[in-house]
Amino acid sequence: MKSSPVAPRPATPSLADFMARAIAMELEAAQRYEEFADAMEAHNNPEVAAMFRKLAVIEARHGDQLLAQMGWTELPFQPRIAFEGFEGPETAPVDAVHYLMKPWHVLELALAGEERAVRFFDHLARTTDDAAVRSAAEEMREEEREHVELVRAWMQKVEPPPEGWEIDPDPPRYTD
């Protein structure tokens, strides 16, 4: 792959670099939830759309809080983020949604994202040599753990999907 034209992250990972990654993660997760919300509105699933919209607000707010914490108004450079997969741990995969999905599924996706974020920050905290980065990663890990618990509690209040939720009496498929 060729190099990106955006400013690369510093050669030596620093606290600023780490925070830029964390903020980019939150903002990308928010953007994906926004896209999902738009798609669900277009497919007449307003309940799920509203829930994705709410998650987008939450993720964006977290990103804004981290920006304020660093005294930034925007990312000072575009971080190159190396993750296990292609996208950040909090970003739900683009193909993880279904037009008939229920609010419970939205929370299931959010829970998976928060759990991936815990693992991501935990790994960083355990492997970095930089004390400031370690401290920040540990703090972020604990915040994400709180989010995991919040989403779990939220799921308790939402009705699980009925069996056959994905069955469409007028399906678009001609292939089975």
Binding site: M1, K2, S4, P5, V6, Q31, E35, F36, D38, A39, M40, E41, A42, H43, E74, I81, G85, F86, E87, P93, V94, D95, A96, V97, H98, Y99, M101, P172, R173, Y174, T175, D176
Partner: protein, 303 residues
């Protein structure tokens, strides 16, 4: 990547990007707000099926344009027909949603007439490889300074799931019971053999990586072809498994067509990255001063 395709002595200004489009600078004393991917999105919301890979490709296109900091009014997005061909309406750039399979013909005309514009062409595998297959060959051969992004999902999604040129021969469906039994079309092989100056493959599940590839494709002179594996979750739900199959190509791009050909002939279709970045000069049949005015052209149609 150096702009090798340009004639000797023709330097490329640092702020000249995107297939020759000059980037406008803010006026003295003002600070222009930085463009982001959102700067290139229109207010129209996509109607693709939730989960469609094309959402991600739209995101990659807008991220690439933001990386290059191109003014939206200096970019034109041209398409044919199909799910993915709806992209022009979802961007804030100029757009042309044209005739099935003829996006490259329209885009070629536009670029030749307006070389100052950055011209992107978007579409799907049916539009580009079947109905527009002949235009694809000759667009590669002509090497006009275009960037062609094909969202390949191996199916005609908009018309309910017919096999396309890239559909596997044994894909069984009501519309092709037992499969077509036909050999698949190999877009990268054909693009390379036909003279495309830049050949790459991306994956919708990797929007940031695909954005970088598209940005490189736009920068590279001549005809740039980017195939993006973009799952159709409605008619090909099994394509959700692609995310476990794709991987970054283990080799760097080459500027040697023979090396690229050897690589792509043994490729399993899931290596992503830039395969080939050549140095063939872009078509230089322009610019030429206009010899007729719109009034002259209208006069030809007078009865």
């Amino acid at each position: 990547m150096s702009p090798k395709g340009r004639p000797e002595g023709e330097s490329v200004p640092k702020r000249l990007s995107a297939k020759g489009s000059p980037v406008s600078a803010p006026a003295c004393g003002t600070v222009a707000a930085p463009r982001t991917a959102a700067s290139y999105k229109s207010s129209y919301k996509p109607i693709w099926c939730p989960g469609c890979g094309d959402f991600s490709v739209l995101s990659s296109v807008t991220k690439a344009l933001a990386q290059l900091d191109l003014p939206p009014e200096r970019v034109a997005v041209v398409s044919g027909i199909g799910c993915s061909s709806r992209i022009p309406a979802y961007t804030a750039c100029y757009g042309f949603h044209g005739v099935h399979g003829r996006s490259l013909a329209a885009a070629t005309g536009l670029k030749v007439a307006r070389p100052d514009l950055t011209v992107l062409v978007t579409g799907g595998d049916g539009d580009g490889y079947s109905i527009g297959g002949n235009h694809f060959l000759h667009a590669c051969r002509r090497n006009v300074d275009l960037t062609y992004v094909v969202m390949d999902n191996h199916v005609y999604g908009m018309t309910k799931g017919q096999p396309s040129p890239t559909t596997e021969p044994d894909w069984d469906s009501k519309l092709a019971p037992g499969g077509t039994g036909l050999r698949v079309f190999h877009p990268l092989v054909v693009a390379l053999a036909s003279g495309a100056n830049f050949v790459a493959r991306g994956f919708a599940g990797d929007p940031n990586g695909t954005a970088r590839i598209i940005a490189e494709a736009i920068r590279h002179p001549g005809f740039s072809f980017v195939e993006v594996l973009s799952p159709c979750v409605t008619f090909r739900p099994e394509q959700r498994q692609w995310k476990g199959a794709v991987r970054p190509a283990p080799v760097d791009p080459t500027d040697d067509a023979a090396t690229a050909a050897r690589r792509v002939m043994s490729d399993d279709g899931f290596n992503i990255g830039i395969l080939y970045a050549g140095d063939r000069p872009a078509y230089r049949g322009y610019p030429q001063p206009a010899r007729a005015t719109p009034a002259d052209l209208e006069a030809e149609f007078e009865l």
